[in-house]
Amino acid sequence: MVKNNLATAPAPHLHSPISTQKIMAITTLALLPAFFVSVYFFGAGVIWQFLISSVTAFICQLICGFLRHRSLYKSVGDLSYIVTALILALTLPPLIPFHLTVIVTAFAILICKECFGGLGMNIFNPAMAGFVFLLISAPGQMFNTYIAPAPNAYVEASLGNTYEVIFNNADAKEIHDKVLALNNDADALSGATWLESTKTARKSGHIDDVQAINYQDGKESGYLYLALAYLLGGLVLLAFRIIFVRMVVSFFLSLVVFVLLGKLMLPNLVLNLDAQLILGGTMLGAFFIITDPVTNAGTAKGRIIFAILCAFLIVLIRAFGSYSDAVAFAVLLSNASAPLIDALTRRRAYGIGFKKGGL
């Protein structure tokens, strides 16, 4: 009775010794460098967020296993909820109050994944859907609880300090200011994140007024190291052949092409190439989100089209959208079109559907 959302390619089908559990464990390990970089630059709040969301996700999986009369051990055995929780911890603001993290994780696991039939059946990436859910539900709190990155941020935003903010509703502004003071340069960014601060310039059509990012020193270096950590994790995944090289390559190539084209056509709206590649969720998206084996397209050609569509939407939404980043929206829209891409790129089985007058 279960409708299969994934396209199954015609034979031959090869068996791979790798299991879901192993894939998820390796993905979790590949995300660890980014996790540590996040703790270093954004403070220990990230650790709390990961704890909250993984515990919530675990409980949600148990509830689902119970309601579906499945064995509880198997319903938490696939570890996919840990990956969801880790990506949520990395994307949510580090100081967001715990009840929002719980709600977002429960939404991601219960509604985005289990309501569609559990792992392997979900249409939308749970972590990104949860992130978008929070982004449009509580934009004010999302904006107030970000920390602008600074080296050694975990000294000021220690476990104890962030605990007070996350669980006891203390003022997030204090930690934010202390972390900001850690930077050597005293330039004042108006927004919480760099992309957020460019939004006003973009809306008024003067993107050139935004000063170039200095990756060598100060808080912007955090973004660079985070991107490098994601790259490292992505290379690990590529080495274990968990994600497809063609998806990553076509994503980056098409992103570069679309940004250069956009720069030519809409010079006042499109950000520079380095900002597009390093800031926001581009790196996370390229290696960990669009390559999600469940929610991307199911055919070889389809995956390339999926990656290109995603890159196109990222550039487009970053130019015209009213939110600061575009990766989550672009991924959700591409997820929604994945079944269509599957249907359009289905591979012809050998000997079936050949053309008249020739093989």
Partner: protein
């Protein structure tokens, strides 16, 4: 011969079928519309106003009352006139009848509840195209006597209004943290005491009053109703499962 007795495909004779239809009493017809064949939760009719207007409990209540009035009068009039209406032109005639009633209701609301009129906007006029009313007229009022049609319209209208109201309450509490905000526009001075704040702005989720929240909340209500209605069957099914091969 067997064929002479069985007129229908299902093997139920015409006599039996007629008896079955007549067995539905007034209360059964009413309850069917209210619960087991609820327009909002089972037939999924009238989703446009259901999702668009339920961002606050009072708006939902206003639209629910308006819809109830229109569906009752339209069902009554159509069932009285059902012998004079030609089958070929019944839909245009229904639309004209319903549009007349909606216009009356709309002017009444505009005159006596101007605040509610402003917040309901176009959805008050759009009751004309509400599938619940058309569906009741087409499926029931056009082929039943006035009393039964009235019972059916009352059940369906109340059922639809109840879904609207519950959905409005849930979405208002989640989305803006209040309940019955602006109740004075509908209920007058009594309504002012009804307004209450449940959640502070730190705990509200804006998505509740946005369109996706409407879909989520409605889906949850439908799931709850199905779980309730099929509880017994599911219990038996689950008890028949073989425990050692569950996955």
């Amino acid at each position: 011969m067997c064929n002479n007795e069985l007129n229908t495909v299902e093997g139920v004779s015409d006599k039996e079928l007629k008896k079955k239809v007549k067995a539905d009493g007034l209360i059964a017809v009413f309850l069917k519309g209210l619960w087991s064949n609820n327009p909002g939760l089972c037939q999924l009719l009238g989703l446009c106003p259901l999702l668009a207007i339920t961002n606050s409990a009072i708006n939902a209540l206003g639209l629910a009352i308006a819809t109830l009035v229109v569906v009752m009068f339209s069902s009554l009039v159509i069932s009285i006139l059902r012998r004079c209406i030609f089958r070929e032109v019944r839909i245009p005639l229904y639309v004209v009848l319903i549009a007349t009633l909606v216009t009356v209701v709309r002017f009444y609301v505009e005159a006596y509840f101007p605040d509610l009129y402003d917040s309901l906007g176009i959805y008050l006029s759009l009751i004309v195209t509400n599938c619940v009313i058309m569906g009741r007229a087409e499926a029931f009022a056009g082929r039943n006597n006035p009393l039964r049609s009235l019972a059916d319209a009352l059940g369906s209208g109340l059922g639809f209004g109840l879904v609207l109201f519950v959905l409005g309450c849930i979405r208002e509490i989640i989305g803006s943290g209040t309940l019955f905000a602006g109740a004075s526009s509908l209920l007058g001075p009594i309504g002012e005491n009804l307004e209450c704040h449940i959640l502070t702005s730190d705990y509200t989720l804006l998505i509740g009053i946005l369109p996706p929240g409407g879909f989520f909340a409605l889906a949850m209500l439908i799931a709850l109703k199905n779980a309730w209605a099929m509880h017994k069957r599911n219990k038996i099914e689950n008890s028949l499962k073989i425990k050692s091969i569950r996955y």
